[in-house]
């Protein structure tokens, strides 16, 4: 099962990122992974949290523009060339990556990365077919 990512629209204004982080923290929600992408005017914050639905609702309540997207969490062997091996396998399976970012935490010695791909569910099957270690929502949220 793909995992849920929360995306928040942020203007490039002082304090916007910290107010989102503060809001999530006040709700007692724990951030598992995050990335920020930015342009001159605006940025988007992508979050993997332990309770996506509650984070989504809390942000909506505060009038943020929020979107919930499905992404895939994949285990990456923690040794030189580990990421390259995973990417090669994905390329062979014809999976097109929109963006990816890494987790802070590790799982049984392996690194973890979030992949945003087209057609998440198909991609996930292809990855499993290639022997990649794909994590379920439960595994990720309970890290």
């Amino acid at each position: 099962m793909p995992i849920k990512q929360i995306t928040v629209f942020l203007e490039n204004k002082c304090g916007r990122l910290s107010s989102v982080a503060g809001l999530i923290g006040d709700e007692g929600i724990n951030i598992r992974a995050f990335s920020v992408a930015d342009t001159t005017d605006f940025g988007i914050l992508r979050l993997i949290v332990n309770d996506p639905q509650r984070a989504y609702e809390a942000l909506r309540r505060e009038d943020y523009t929020v979107r919930m997207t499905e992404v895939v969490a994949v285990q990456i062997p923690d040794h030189p060339g580990g990421l390259a091996e995973v990417l090669t396998l994905m390329q062979e399976a014809g999976i097109n990556i929109e963006y990816l970012y890494a987790f802070v935490a590790k799982l049984s010695g392996d690194a973890l990365a979030v992949f945003r791909v087209e057609n998440v569910r198909v991609a996930e099957q292809l990855m499993l077919g290639k022997g990649l270690k794909v994590l379920s929502g439960e595994e990720v949220y309970n890290l």
Binding site: T7, L10, F42, I44, D63, R67, E98, Y99, R116
Partner: protein, 434 residues
């Protein structure tokens, strides 16, 4: 859908014209006798009341402007003694003294009559429950609608503007069938309803009359879809009467301006020359029946056009004006190009799903005017991919540039960044010191 006053509303055009000419002659001779301001302005150009015989003579009359009302503050243009005035309203007066308008008992009854015609256009009858969310007070909106609604015999809910959550509760519990307010407030109501989890199916609304500010067809579509109603445009200006001067009929092909009470012309805002039907320009109105404050060729500063003559499918015979495109004062001249907020609004709607919350900012860098448009990002168009947001930004920019013919910067901003007003929406910040 019926008429309020079929005999008047569907009067044969020839009869309407001869009525107008008779009323115009009366008005001109009355203002000449009763109002020193008009007498002097006629004498200055050597015009005698007898010179005005037919509608073709209208162009000979001098214009009246908002400044004339200010210069004669408060009662200088009244044509009846104050003992005959039963109501006074005033404009907001954002730039100095307000302008004061007065009504005789007959004026109030004419106002109720034209508002009754307007409300009937949007489906009101004595069975309707009309939630009137126009402000009550010195502003003409609230009481103007109120008297028309009472004349019809509808149940008026004089809720006035503001207190949005309470408005929604009343709309739901009182089962209001008609809503009257500014279009931007109607959209605000729809937004707050969605936040509160109130759906249009929870309401009994059927129609609405929205006016007091220009609004686009896109905004109409939004209001109709989100409130589940038929939304019609109503035009009015307090110096001439208030709401009800003109109203859109169910055919939605223009607004009938009630020819038995008002004469409409379109003039070039710069030169003041009369423009032929079909050309956009400034709407100029002459009152035909006003007693307390008759107006001769009043410059409304509203930009519209007179639609070509011809029978309207609704059966009404009164002349039609188009929806207002903006105000001559809202018109921004940017690098020599005339820009109206409504043009930008139309683009934002065309790019589907974009919420109509936007702000136009004009600045002068060096000698060059720069136009920036802030657009709020709604959940509908938001994406987790930068590429898609940049594409959206670019598309808005390109389409605005095509429409205006000048370059523009588009900035996506967070929801609720742009201030919501419960009355008229503020769409422009002009930071140039012109």
């Amino acid at each position: 859908m019926g008429y309020w006053n079929e005999e008047c509303e569907c009067m044969p055009p020839e009869r309407l014209r001869s009525l107008q000419e008779k009323l115009l002659r009366n008005t001109v001779s009355r203002v000449y006798q009763e109002v020193p301001f008009y007498r002097h302005s006629f004498q200055k150009i050597g015009l005698k009341p007898e010179d005005i015989q037919t509608l073709d003579d209208l162009g000979k009359l001098p214009f009246t402007t908002k400044d004339d009302l200010r210069d004669n503050y408060p009662y200088g243009l009244f044509a009846v003694p104050l003992s005959e005035v039963i109501r006074l309203h005033a404009s907001s007066g954002t730039t100095g003294k307000p302008t004061v308008v007065g009504y005789s008992r007959h004026d109030i009854s004419v106002w109720a009559e034209v508002m009754a015609r307007a409300l009937t256009c949007c489906g009101a009858s004595h069975d309707s429950k009309i939630q009137n969310a126009y402000g009550y007070g010195l502003f003409t909106g609230g009481l103007g609608v109120h008297y028309g609604a009472e004349l019809i015999g509808a149940s008026v809910i004089p809720v006035s503007g503001g207190h949005t959550k309470r408005q929604i509760m009343i709309m739901k519990d009182f089962r209001s069938t008609i809503l009257t307010c500014t279009p931007s407030y109607a959209l605000h109501l729809a937004e707050v309803m969605e936040e509160l989890g109130v759906s249009k199916e929870d309401l009994s609304l059927e129609g609405g009359l929205f006016g007091a500010e220009p609004w686009s067809l896109g905004l109409r579509g939004q209001i109709e879809a989100r409130l589940g109603i038929k939304a019609l445009d109503i035009y009015g200006i307090s110096e001439v009467l208030g709401p009800g001067v003109a109203v859109e009929c169910p055919a939605k092909e223009g607004l009938h301006i009630w020819g038995d009470h008002f004469l409409a012309e379109i003039v070039d805002p710069e030169s003041g020359e009369q423009l032929p039907p079909g050309s956009y320009g400034e709407l100029v109105i002459t009152t035909l029946t006003k007693e307390a404050l008759p107006m001769i060729r009043y410059r409304t500063r509203d930009i519209t056009r007179i639609l070509p003559d011809g029978p309207c499918s609704c059966g009404r015979t009164h002349p039609k004006i188009d929806r207002c495109q903006g105000r001559t004062d809202d018109m921004l001249v940017i690098r020599g190009v005339n820009v109206f907020p409504s043009q930008i609004e139309e683009v934002l709607f065309r790019i589907s799903h974009t919420e109509p919350f936007y702000l136009i900012i004009v600045e002068r860098r060096g000698t060059l005017d720069e136009l920036e448009v802030w657009v709020e990002v709604s959940d509908l168009v938001f994406s987790d991919e930068i590429r898609k947001l940049e594409t959206l930004e670019r598309r808005i920019r390109q389409e605005i540039e095509v429409v205006l013919g000048i370059s523009v910067r588009v900035k996506l901003v967070e929801p609720k960044t742009i201030e919501r007003y419960e009355g008229k929406a503020k769409r422009i910040i002009d930071r140039r010191n012109l």
